[in-house]
């Protein structure tokens, strides 16, 4: 485990106070009692990790908080961070049958958090099978949710797993990417610590970047799980992009979450309208920027961000400039930037620039947020593992790749979804490897 620590920063805490404060113990019981306890519950089906939702909720209602937490952790070892970061509107809560009666869905995320908070407070470790029950040894490359879930599942079943992460701290985007008002980096690291206690070994600050490194891992381990996430942020490919004062969304987010960026001022322009763009824009507001624009080349109804994220951004005071495209970044007075833009329109599904529609925005920071690029470099090194459109090709059920000793899951396979999808992918791969190993030994 890395010895790197996150600064305890009161200012950061205050500025990124929790979006959804925890339910009180009693409010949680009242909410839990609202659950109908559906048969073969649609919320459970909608959850990519298939947490037994009514099962854990009824345990909260009865006061069996330990049982509730273990029920959650059985299906989803990152139950604590998922409770905070999952877009529940389009997952479990979106599937709640109460919405069909025009009633508010059960606050499943909040209840899950209640059980997980209580479990953390108890200090108890997650139960594991005796280590060594399985001879299997697996290396999980990447320290994000996919690898963590994979490694945890392996260790819980008695196998051995090692997580290799190039960054200082494990957790992947849970630590470096997710908005601090949803999940604190410190809480992500705390959750990883719980996984370490299951017996998972961590090698942080180590990048697997060559065929040689992979060959070495193949010698040490039976299987290799790829939980690499996506590549770096895409570039705008416009003149002036490398100027000081241009910082992509992931850099900005990682910088504030680790205490390296504590303050912004003036005007910030975020280019893009996905969830990451919104996170960056909200962060800019909370860091002190007076005006934050989001620039999007299409219209409001085309943005990929979740509806609740869009609503939230408006509440944070973010302003939206629709159908605008950046064309160049120039230098203004007093070290400010001039973002040159044009107005766009859609014709036959194609975006075209409206002639003579140039306008410039004087600003202090430009934040490209038009998506993460697919993995490139490492994919070429991967021995017999196929990729398509920058995504690793793996079996949907097992996560097994073209090279039978390589499994994969998470963003690098699904092209970028959510934490819970990565957890599901990691868990499925772990179970498949365990099964495969059993067959091999039988």
């Amino acid at each position: 485990m890395s010895t790197a620590v996150l600064p305890h920063d009161e200012q950061l805490r205050a500025r990124f106070s929790e979006l959804k404060p925890a339910l009180t113990a009693q409010a949680a019981v009242i909410e839990a009692d609202r659950c109908l306890n559906c048969f073969d519950a649609p919320c459970t089906a909608a959850c990519p990790t298939h947490i037994d939702v009514p099962g854990f909720i009824k345990r909260i209602a009865s006061g069996n908080l330990r049982g509730s937490a273990l029920r959650i952790l059985d299906a989803n070892i990152l139950g604590a961070s998922c409770a905070r970061v999952c877009p529940v509107d389009v997952l479990c809560e979106g599937a709640c049958v109460l919405t069909r009666q025009n009633r508010k869905p059960i606050q499943i995320g909040q209840l899950q958090r209640r059980a997980m908070d209580a479990f953390w407070a108890s200090g108890e470790a997650v139960p594991v099978a005796a280590p060594g029950t399985h001879k299997l040894r697996v290396a999980c490359i990447g320290g994000g949710p996919a690898s963590l879930a994979c490694a945890a599942e392996l260790c819980r079943q008695g196998a051995r797993a090692t997580v290799i992460e190039r960054r200082e701290l494990p957790g992947g985007l849970n630590t470096y990417g997710v908005a601090e008002y949803k999940l604190r980096a410190a809480d992500s690291v705390h959750e990883v610590e719980m996984i370490r206690r299951l017996g998972v070994e961590f090698r942080c600050g180590l990048e697997v970047d060559s065929a040689a490194a992979l060959v070495a891992l193949e010698a040490e381990f039976d299987f290799i799980f790829l939980g690499l996430g996506l590549g770096a942020m895409q570039r705008l490919n416009i003149p002036g992009e490398d100027a000081e004062g241009v910082m992509n969304a992931l850099e900005l987010i990682a910088a504030y979450k680790t205490g390296h960026l504590r303050e912004l001022h003036g005007t910030v322009v975020v280019v893009g309208a996905g969830n990451t763009a919104i996170d960056a824009a909200n962060a800019a507001r909370r860091l002190g920027a007076d005006t934050v624009y989001m620039l999007y080349r299409r219209s409001e109804s085309d943005m990929s961000a979740f509806d609740f994220e869009y609503e939230h951004a408006k509440q944070e005071g973010v302003q939206f400039l629709w159908r605008r495209q950046p064309v160049a970044i120039g230098q203004g007075e007093h070290g400010r930037l001039i973002l040159e833009t044009v107005q766009a329109r859609e014709a036959d599904g194609k975006i075209e620039v409206i002639p003579d529609s140039q306008s410039a925005i004087a600003c202090d920071l430009v934040v490209p947020a038009i998506g993460q690029s697919p993995l490139t470099q490492i994919l070429q090194e991967l021995r017999g593992v196929q990729a398509r459109d920058g995504k690793i090709v793996a079996d949907r059920v097992t996560g097994q790749t073209g090279n039978p000793r390589y499994y994969a899951g998470g963003d690098c396979v699904n092209g970028g979804r959510e934490v819970v999808d990565a957890v599901a992918g990691g868990k499925r791969a772990a179970r498949a490897m365990l099964k495969e190993a059993e067959v091999a030994h039988a």
């Binding site: 109908l36 559906c38 048969f39 073969d40 089906a45 298939h50 009666q101």
Partner: protein, 474 residues
Amino acid sequence: MPDIGVRNFAGGINSPNPFWLASAPPTNTGEMIMRAFDAGWGGGVWKTIGEPITNVTSRYSATDWNGQRIMGFNNIELISDRTVEQNLREMAEVKKRYPKNAVIASLMVASTREAWHEIVTRTEDAGADGLELNFGCPHGMSERGMGSAVGQVPEYAQMITEWVKEKARTPVLVKLTPNISDIRTVARAAKRGGADGLSAINTINSITGIDLDTFVPRPNVDGKSSHGGYCGPAVKPIALNMVQQILADPESTLPLSGIGGIGSWRDAAEFLLLGCGTVQVCTVVMHYGYRIVEDMAEGLDNWMREKGFKTLEDFRGLSLNRVTEWKHLNLNYKIVAHIDEQKCIGCDLCHIACWDGAHQCIHLDRVTGPVDGHLELHRTPAAKESESRASIAETPVTRKERAAAFAPGPYPAPLERISRVDETECVGCNLCSLVCPVDGCITMVQVDTGLKPETWDERTRGAACVPTVGEPAN
């Protein structure tokens, strides 16, 4: 405008409405009763008067259910802890200020003729409109030969009623304890003793629960507890049954003041439909205060308007003869469950309830194709569940995926989650319609069996002369 006034109840008690406060803390003092009358209560039975007692702390405990407080209520209190003089002085004051409201004195004294004669005279002198003899307090007092002990021995109950009737000028009600195997035995005794009316039921012996940390049952009195008296909404069904038993029995029946779990005009209407002349309320007032009577009076009035009833007498007792012995029920009446697809929200509680709690005839096979008949032909609930746990679900991250995931279909719920009743197997037990969280979604519809009504009584009487075996074929 319906008239909800009560006239000449039990041979002489009037009140502006049938809603009385039961003898309990809400009627502890004159000041309280006057506030209750101001709030709209038609009458009040004074907290039982007798030799002042000493109470313990704590005194109450409750049964909460599914997030709802006080479904049932339990107390280990005794009768009034105030002197007879104090209570009667205040009673005179109340009667002076509220001549139209019914003030009933609940009484419990030592089991001697003199003691009862004396208390009857004193309370009537104070202006009580009627007397209620408390033979029912299930705890504390019985150890002293009062209360339940008397209420459980018909001979004693009759004797004391007779003593009271020797002196009483106002109507005498006997309050019955439910803590007896057949409540009618004491009701009959009271009637033989000359009672003018009855009140039922008093509280039911209970232990509401045990503290799982201290292992002491509730309420905790310095590390120990004692059985108490149960009341509140939870006891209404028991009370209704006992009221029905009393009123359907010619040797028991008397004007009856119904008590037990009443909290709304609906509850009250049910007691009146069985034949009660007035109703009494304690727990729900202790929970919410006197103001609940406003809706009780208004609600009853509105319901009577809707039904075209002008006075309470128009519907009093209408349901009494709708209760009969099981052997007189029609065996050839058949209903089956019917699910309204437009209302179903897809919780599938009906499916699991019928599989695990009834007759395995609600299936989730609208998409896979209906299968009727034997159990083995159907997927079991466990198989169904493990199938969906093995499925792969993903977060819909693009607009297109979300549109597909939340696309509206012909029904509010996806077809595969709308269960289907196999009517050939349905026994018409009602279970599914009771668990369904949506009003009017599952209805029980009658099917024509083509058979003439026949009761068990008729069938077995017939069997005595015509020895046939087996069911008539459909």
